[in-house]
């Protein structure tokens, strides 16, 4: 009996050991901070992306939180409490470069991220000092003009093919009691979008000269500022547009009070779901060339904290974000303009966003490019020039003088 008992115990222990040898690896949980400001746009897409990732990697669990804002990331950096992964803006700001140079984010060079599907602009976006620090962006975003097709049809206005036709459309809308272009003038960026779409079409030469750090002829920029001021004075952006924000402008457009609105392609989904037909067009110049503005989308660009305990698993998540599968999910929900060639564009509205001839410069980035600690023309442009123009406190000539004065303070120039 004693022998039988010993045998049973021995067999049980052996089986337990064998079971232990074949046990699954410990599950790793990655904490990820998503883009809190764009949660409404991204939530469905990331829910599906994360489910697909966890299905493919059963040993990795994701704790995905919409906690990533500029402030929370700053505080986490200062308190050394960054999550395993968090969203970054790549080379759109100097932030990722600072985090990389100070050792807060993981250098991905040794992880062999596959860049073959991406454009040089996308690779540059993810690169700091020759090393890769985040997943590659797969989409483009730019500010465009959405228009109410029903109002355009009723007034027999055709989709403007050059700047002259756009001005004529604006005047026709105003004469018929519509707000031609709804714009929120209250917030820094609300009032900025119109100038962002105008700049590549109306003052590309000035921006090129600024970027070239040489002598600058501000004539075309001055003319553009005068147009902006004139449109504001004539009420083309709506009654009291200086006192409403972007949401107020969107409300004016969705209520059918405005014929057009300047907004980002990132809001495509919202306009697609309206109860009237909405079209869009890239801002045309006098010759009919249509301009988008440079800008990689940061929806799928994430960096790994250098101090993460699970670098392999975190990089695996980045690889998944850069997979065709994850990017297609993003496209299906968000409807962005893909900058990679193997994605199926979701619908005609996205195809319409792809109808531009030139990717022009982004005026804010051009001015940021010649800024330093003492001269910040981009801040003067946003905080001083645009409000004063729309309140008719300065002319185009005075506006360029303010920008030039600030540029001259900067050592970068």
């Amino acid at each position: 009996m004693k022998k039988v008992f010993c045998l049973v115990i021995s067999v049980t222990m052996m089986l337990a050991m064998l079971t232990g040898c074949g046990a699954k690896k410990d599950t790793v949980t990655l904490t990820i901070w998503g883009d809190a400001d764009n949660q409404a746009i991204l939530e469905q897409a990331f829910t599906e992306i994360n489910e697909a990732f966890e299905k493919e990697h059963p040993d990795i669990k994701l704790d995905y939180q919409y906690s990533g804002t500029f402030d929370t990331i700053n505080v986490a950096v200062q308190s050394d409490s960054l999550p395993d992964l968090f969203w970054v803006q790549g080379n759109k700001s100097t932030k990722m470069a600072e985090l990389a140079r100070n050792g807060y984010i993981l250098n991905l060079d040794s992880y062999d991220m596959d860049s073959t599907r991406y454009s040089q602009a996308a690779i540059d976006y993810a690169t700091v000092d020759g090393s890769v620090y985040c997943s590659y962006p797969a989409f483009l975003d730019y500010a465009t003009i959405y228009y109410n097709k029903e109002i355009f049809d009723a007034l027999q206005i055709s989709k403007p093919s050059d700047f002259g036709e756009l001005v004529a459309a604006v005047e026709t809308l105003a004469q018929n009691g519509y707000t031609p272009i709804a714009l929120g003038g209250k917030g820094d960026f609300d009032r900025y979008w119109l100038i962002q779409v105008m700049a590549p079409a109306l003052c590309a030469d000035t921006m090129e000269q600024i970027s070239g750090h040489g002598d600058v002829d501000f004539t075309s920029m001055e003319k553009m500022f005068d147009t902006y001021r004139e449109w504001a004075e004539k009420g083309y952006m709506g009654k009291d547009f200086t006192s409403i924000d972007a949401v107020g402008a969107q409300l004016a457009f969705t209520n059918g009070e405005a014929g057009m609105i300047v907004d980002g392609t990132w809001n495509n989904q919202m306009y697609r779901e309206l109860n009237f037909e909405v079209g869009s067009f890239a801002f045309p110049d006098e010759n009919g060339t249509r301009y988008a503005q440079s800008g990689e989308s940061n929806y799928t660009t994430y960096a790994v904290a250098a101090k993460t305990e699970h670098p392999e698993e975190a990089v695996e998540y980045l690889r998944f974000l850069n997979s065709q599968q994850a990017e297609q999910i993003m496209e299906n929900y968000v409807g962005s303009i893909p900058s990679v060639k193997d994605l199926n564009i979701r619908d005609d509205s996205v195809k319409e966003h792809s109808e531009f001839d030139v990717v022009g410069a982004n005026i804010y980035h051009v001015l940021s490019g010649v800024a330093d600690e003492t001269g910040k023309p981009q801040d003067v442009f946003l905080g001083e020039v645009l409000p004063k123009l729309m309140m008719s406190e300065i002319t185009g000539k005075e506006a360029v003088a303010m920008i030039e004065e600030e540029m001259n303070k900067s050592s970068v120039r």
Partner: protein
């Protein structure tokens, strides 16, 4: 040492509070003071620059102009509060103190906005004054005055007055409660004799009540000053980090926030290399502005009590 402490047992009771106060109040003040001597943006190495941040703050034309504008707006809130809100608070407190009919209901109604958070208060004002959905514009349209509809909350020229109106609506009951408390400590005899002498409702307020609550008034003037210098949320919600068009709703605390945290935006751009250094410099200047006035007020109070 222990012997001495045994002779002064109250020290043991003070000690926990003193330790907590030191950790959470005194230390952060000194830490901010120390940070203001560095060139730093929260990432990377700190570079000691002495008082250069203070020199920059007071000599840089743009920074100085922003600070003066924010200070002007903060002072506007303070002056309006003292000159308009405070007399109204005293009058309301006196009405309740005099046991006017419905006083208790009035007291609760006026104090109740204190229980509402700032975003909700702004939302309530939006429902009333918004250009698209506000009830004021709807009433104007119904009255055939559609031409006068405006987006009232965003009119740049009225920005700081709108901020003040919201602060006052939300906080008027608090000051009123202080005044009621002070009035309840006044001997009823003096009021009754004045009444017997023929002093009316307003004369009793002017000659009997006000002289006896002047220390409370002085204290609330100081509290109003501190609030106007530290208020942040209304301006941030209405005008964003930049403080509205032409910085029309900018206030001192928002100026500090913009210096310390406000250099990031949806388009990226350059991150200030000295955001923390300059931010803490503004915070220290703000602290001194409040501290000096508070000190003067305390001296006045103690001299009066002596």
């Amino acid at each position: 040492m222990i012997q001495r402490l045994r002779k002064k047992p109250y020290v043991w009771f003070l000690l926990p509070g003193f330790i907590l106060y030191t950790i959470f109040i005194i230390y952060p003040i000194f830490a901010a003071g120390q940070l203001s001597l560095y060139h730093w943006n929260g990432i990377g190495d700190k570079v000691f620059v002495g008082f250069q941040n203070y020199v920059d703050l007071f000599t840089n034309k743009d920074l100085m102009s922003q600070m003066m504008n924010a200070l002007k707006n903060s002072i506007t809130i303070f002056v309006l509060t003292v000159c308009i809100a405070m007399p109204v608070q005293i009058t309301m407190a006196y009405t309740i103190y005099s046991k006017a009919r419905g006083g208790n209901y009035f007291q609760v109604a006026v104090f109740s906005p204190q229980f509402i958070s700032t975003p909700v208060i702004v939302f309530i004002f939006t429902l009333i004054f918004d250009g698209n959905i506000g009830i004021v514009n709807k009433l104007l349209e119904m009255a055939g005055l559609g031409a006068f509809t405006r987006s009232w909350l965003g009119i740049p020229q009225y920005g700081i007055y709108i901020v003040w109106a919201m602060i006052t609506w939300a906080g008027i009951g608090v000051g009123m409660m202080y005044f009621i408390g002070a009035m309840k400590m006044i001997e009823r005899d003096s009021l009754e004799s004045a009444y017997m002498e023929g002093a009316g409702f307003w004369k009793r307020l002017w000659y009997i009540i006000l002289p006896q609550i002047k220390m409370t008034i002085l204290n609330l003037v100081l509290v109003s000053y501190i609030v106007s210098m530290t208020i942040f949320d209304y301006s941030y919600i209405l005008g964003g980090t930049s403080g509205g068009i032409n910085r029309n709703v900018d206030v001192m605390s928002l100026f500090f926030y913009r210096m310390a945290f406000g250099d990031t935006n949806p388009l990226g751009g350059n991150i200030s290399a000295n955001s923390m250094g300059m931010g803490t410099t503004v915070a220290c200047v703000l602290f001194l502005m409040i501290f000096v006035i508070a000190l003067i007020q305390l001296l006045l109070v103690y001299r009066k009590e002596d």
